[in-house]
């Protein structure tokens, strides 16, 4: 058995798709917080995108299944040690989002972090259409089919589309 390297672990992680947007891997989404190798023990910590995301356990087990047998002891945990933010989505991840019909998160409601009461209220999310590129779009609903998505309408190609929330 060749010695396991962190690079090999990252390559394996890059094969684990997000269950809700499978075109993106957990690496593309920036969900991987740490990869630790210590003798027989491989430990990976993941960051939850949304606190109440029902896919968290599915993501954790998918990662654990992919890494199983790479080391005698494999631990995969979710942690709040650092906040996941939409800025963690990689450039590659943003490109894949667009290819899948999702507008990547922009300078939206919470981009730049939380602000004092009402300071953020005038700033509503905006997005360009991932299908035709038009900036002539209307926010239909801040909330969408999953916790991490917002619904827009493109006035040019007359199609609905979703944006990954900026958090």
């Amino acid at each position: 058995m060749t010695t396991l390297t962190k690079d090999a672990v990252w390559e394996a992680l890059a094969e684990v798709p997000d269950p809700e947007i499978p075109a993106l891997s957990v690496v593309d989404l920036g969900l991987v917080h740490t990869v630790e190798l210590d003798g027989d023990r491989l430990r990976v910590e993941l960051l939850p995108t949304f606190v109440g995301c029902p896919a968290l356990e599915l993501i954790r087990t998918s990662v654990a299944e992919r890494l199983a047998r790479m080391a005698p002891v494999v631990e995969v945990e979710m942690t709040f040690a650092a906040p996941w933010t939409s800025d963690r989505i990689t450039a590659e991840g943003r490109r894949k989002l667009g290819d899948s019909g999702f507008a990547p998160p922009g300078q939206g409601a919470a981009a730049g972090g939380p602000a004092p009461l009402f300071a953020t209220i005038p700033v509503r999310p905006s997005a360009s259409c991932p299908w035709c590129g038009s900036a002539d779009t209307t926010l239909e609903n801040l909330f969408g089919p999953t916790l991490c998505r917002t619904v827009f309408w493109c006035n040019r190609c007359r199609q609905p589309f979703e944006q990954f929330k900026a958090v």
Binding site: V51, A82, P83, F143
Partner: protein, 289 residues
């Protein structure tokens, strides 16, 4: 604190923090193990703060879910389902922090207590009522919650700090959404405006309780768990909110509230909701999910 539930503060931890789960274990989001950094009174106050905040989010989440399928427009079905899911997710994370601190099981905290043992603010004792009422309650709650989260943003209690950082970002969307609805109802003609005003007048005294009824909050402020005592959080909230309501010609806060803020006496409406959200678990408490 006077809860008689499975979690009793001030007593030795009945269950050691669980070791990290290995592959295949059932999951949940794990926070760092608690640090033994506080004296007994501060620790009790911290447990009280966690329970009250978790119960607020949990009960509001269940009231929100009552709109699923019957909201005025499809978009609001989707929105209120998401809001509910966010709040129940926040509650789950906070119950986990409490279990990490005091021992016990987060699911038992969420579903295993009698109605009198919940510590949510009495603002959450009202039923969903009509749309304007639900909008008014959520707006009052969300703005107060943001003020509370702001005061926890650099909490000396590290495990809470990480969860709060996530919650604040999500709550921004709640605030945006509810603010848009308040503005829409306030400027949307006679009937929506009248309903909104009536709801705010009815809810204001109870809304003040969201940032009240936390025993030992001054100890928490001294220890750096909270940036300031709840009275100061409340003032900051009202200083931000009152001018905005005035701009819309909507009623502002009363001078004070009377009576206990966080139980143990509960409304029949809350008892009904409790029956609903504990029904499945009570049918088979030992079931594995």
């Amino acid at each position: 604190m006077s809860t008689g539930g499975p979690r009793t503060t001030g007593e030795p931890v009945t269950q050691a923090p669980r070791p990290p789960k290995a592959v295949g274990g059932s999951g949940g989001t794990r926070s760092a193990p608690p640090v033994n950094q506080f004296d007994a009174n501060t620790r009790t106050a911290l447990a009280g703060l966690l329970l009250a905040t978790a119960d607020d989010e949990f009960v509001l989440g269940y009231w929100d879910s009552e709109w699923t399928g019957i909201a005025p427009v499809l978009e609001e079905d989707v929105a209120f389902a998401s809001l509910a899911q966010d709040e129940i997710g926040h509650a789950q994370a906070l119950y986990q922090l409490l279990a990490d601190l005091d021992g016990g099981d987060p699911d038992e905290l969420a579903y295993g207590r009698a109605p009198e043992e919940y510590r949510h603010a009495r603002l959450l004792d009202h039923p969903r009522t009509d749309w304007a009422f639900s909008v008014a309650r959520r707006f009052l709650y969300d703005t107060a919650d943001v003020a509370r989260l702001d005061s926890l943003a650099a909490s000396a209690y590290q495990p809470l700090d990480g969860v709060v950082a996530k919650m604040r970002r999500e709550e921004t969307y709640h605030l945006l959404h509810m603010h848009a609805w308040v503005e829409r109802l306030a400027t949307g003609g006679e009937e929506p405006r009248a309903r909104l005003v009536a709801a705010l007048e009815r809810l204001w005294p109870d809304a003040l309780c969201v940032l009240d009824g936390i025993e030992g909050d001054e100890l928490l402020a001294e220890a750096g768990v909270l940036a300031e005592p709840m009275a100061a959080v409340r003032r900051r909230w009202l200083a931000g909110l009152t001018p905005e309501l005035a701009r819309l010609g909507l009623p502002g806060p009363p001078a004070a509230h009377t009576g206990p803020c966080r139980g143990p006496s509960r409304s029949d409406d809350f008892r009904w909701l409790w029956e609903q959200f504990t029904m499945v678990r009570r049918s088979d408490p030992e079931a594995a999910w």
